[in-house]
Symmetry: C2
Subunit: 376 residues, 2 copies
Amino acid sequence: MRVPSEMPRPLYVTQPLLPELPDFLPFLASIWQTKVLTNGGPYHNRLERELGGFLDVPSAMLFNNGTTALLVALKMLNLPAESEVITTPLTFAATAHAITWNSLRPVFADVDPETLTIDPAAVEKAITNKTSAILAVHVYGNICDVISLQDIASKYGLHLIYDAAHAFGATLNNRSVAGFGDASVFSFHATKLFHTFEGGLIATSRKRDKDPIYFLRNFGIKNEDEVVSVGINGKVNELQAAIGLLNLPLIEGERALRSNLRRRYCELLTSVPGVRVPQPQPGVLNSEQYFHLVIDPTSFGRTRDDVYDSLKQRGIFSRKYFHPICTDFEPYRRFEIHSARHDPYVNTVKSQVLCLPFHSGVEEEDVNDICAEFYG
Amino acid sequence: MRVPSEMPRPLYVTQPLLPELPDFLPFLASIWQTKVLTNGGPYHNRLERELGGFLDVPSAMLFNNGTTALLVALKMLNLPAESEVITTPLTFAATAHAITWNSLRPVFADVDPETLTIDPAAVEKAITNKTSAILAVHVYGNICDVISLQDIASKYGLHLIYDAAHAFGATLNNRSVAGFGDASVFSFHATKLFHTFEGGLIATSRKRDKDPIYFLRNFGIKNEDEVVSVGINGKVNELQAAIGLLNLPLIEGERALRSNLRRRYCELLTSVPGVRVPQPQPGVLNSEQYFHLVIDPTSFGRTRDDVYDSLKQRGIFSRKYFHPICTDFEPYRRFEIHSARHDPYVNTVKSQVLCLPFHSGVEEEDVNDICAEFYG
């Protein structure tokens, strides 16, 4: 039995970055003075410009959350009703639900055992004459096989969208991941490295996408006299835009601290039998969104759930993430998982993956305490 | 020609109520200290309780905006895909779009010439064997004919939902309008009397609605192990919840000032030929959301658009509201308007209705200036 030291406080997987409160006050004073509260206010517009620069895309469009951004990203493609969108079951519920809300059908494809992102070979097996798009998901900090996916999309004439909720600031061969495919959708939820309490963004590499997406974000309103599409309300208010402006300069510092944390976790856990730490991907600058392990119960001798429970008892709240996976949800329970393997790998890994506390509030001593869980 | 006095500043139809900024600071300090930013934080839960009390309903569930609330209110009814929902074309775009996003078909029915709310006789004419629900809209401050609509809903076995974006705090015979039908949906957008910058709420008279609506608001997540429905992200963060807590005590004062303003407008305009001021509805406590006129160009001698343009030149921004109406939108342009009349009245009134500046920032002198527009 491990002898855990007393933990001074509960530790969670994430802890939101917040600016110094006094730095927020001049923004508030200005909002109170102008009384511009939402609908594309000055802070909103400035944040949108700054994020476009940060993500190195000509079109960066803010949303009130990542789910609304996903809904609109799919909507702008005008996919045929009831057509099929291939995605991964190893993702947050919003990915599959955004497909369904668009009167489209999610089709699930297996994940690659190394990166846990969607397996291009499985995607190709899932294609039918009803397939209209691929919705791939960068997970934890791993980037999809964007080259193979683009090849498949081009070969079969499919649209390709990325759920990039975990990939803010990631690059592949010095190129921002935000520019891949038809669009990339980010989440700025409080659990994300860069956040606006709740929030999201659609990034695309085409400037001409801006207008249709702006219209869809604001009820399809083109101007005072015209409503041109079935839009939604995806508007971000000025309070949250101000938070975004204040948080953006802080994230490189946070990312550097998380990189150190990742190195320390890897050092301590890399030689534990049955525990797999994430491997760096060639050419990828990691977003440092999550630190995940894959725990093989046969080699390690304990299950992921056992580790989770034991950590929890010590005030360390790791996260079974993603658990459940989409094909475990009631609405998708009867949906097949297409795979290039005999048994979909995602059905194995879903009970093995665990995210550990990963933010600048985790001290070196905390890492030692957490990792002690994995020593016999 | 009128001789307008110099207006000291632009006047808009609405101006958001804001608490004193120093009153916001203790809330911020607490949010910064606890780092609970969203996902049902303490301010969110307190505001939900207070609004349930204010609206006198057992179930009051906060949303990030009125559109998401409408989406979820329809979703919770589990209406058959492609079934028809009867609504009014004289409403904001979100009403019709929320039907479409739910894979349902909006069917438009004419409005009553007195109240400009949906005409029950037109609703009955629009019913087919595909009709599954009525989505009625309280407009400006006028309340729908809730008794006739409930009779029709009961007679034909239809669900009945109210878009109550304009009706916050309104009562009919001392009963809160929030309790009518299967659900009432409010908007807390900055333009509304009570607002949270952006926001919304679903009110129902059944406590058992809470769980399914909470699940739908948070991706269908029932607990750590179960996702039971195709949900969405409708969560409200703690910044906006705190604003709501601070604004709620202020609205009765604002409403009283608007009541005075309404009386003054009516006094000055009631005898202008061709200009119709809103008439009080028996037993209704007005929400005081908007003050609207109906301008008959034949009797008045000028069109609504002419009045609008002329006011605008003097820095008075009235609003052609609702203009365009839903059947003018590109996605619904070919949709019929069902009416109990030969020509739908809504096609006449849509070019006659005008909302005037209506908030506590409008001084008595402003009212005189605005009303001078209507004297020959």
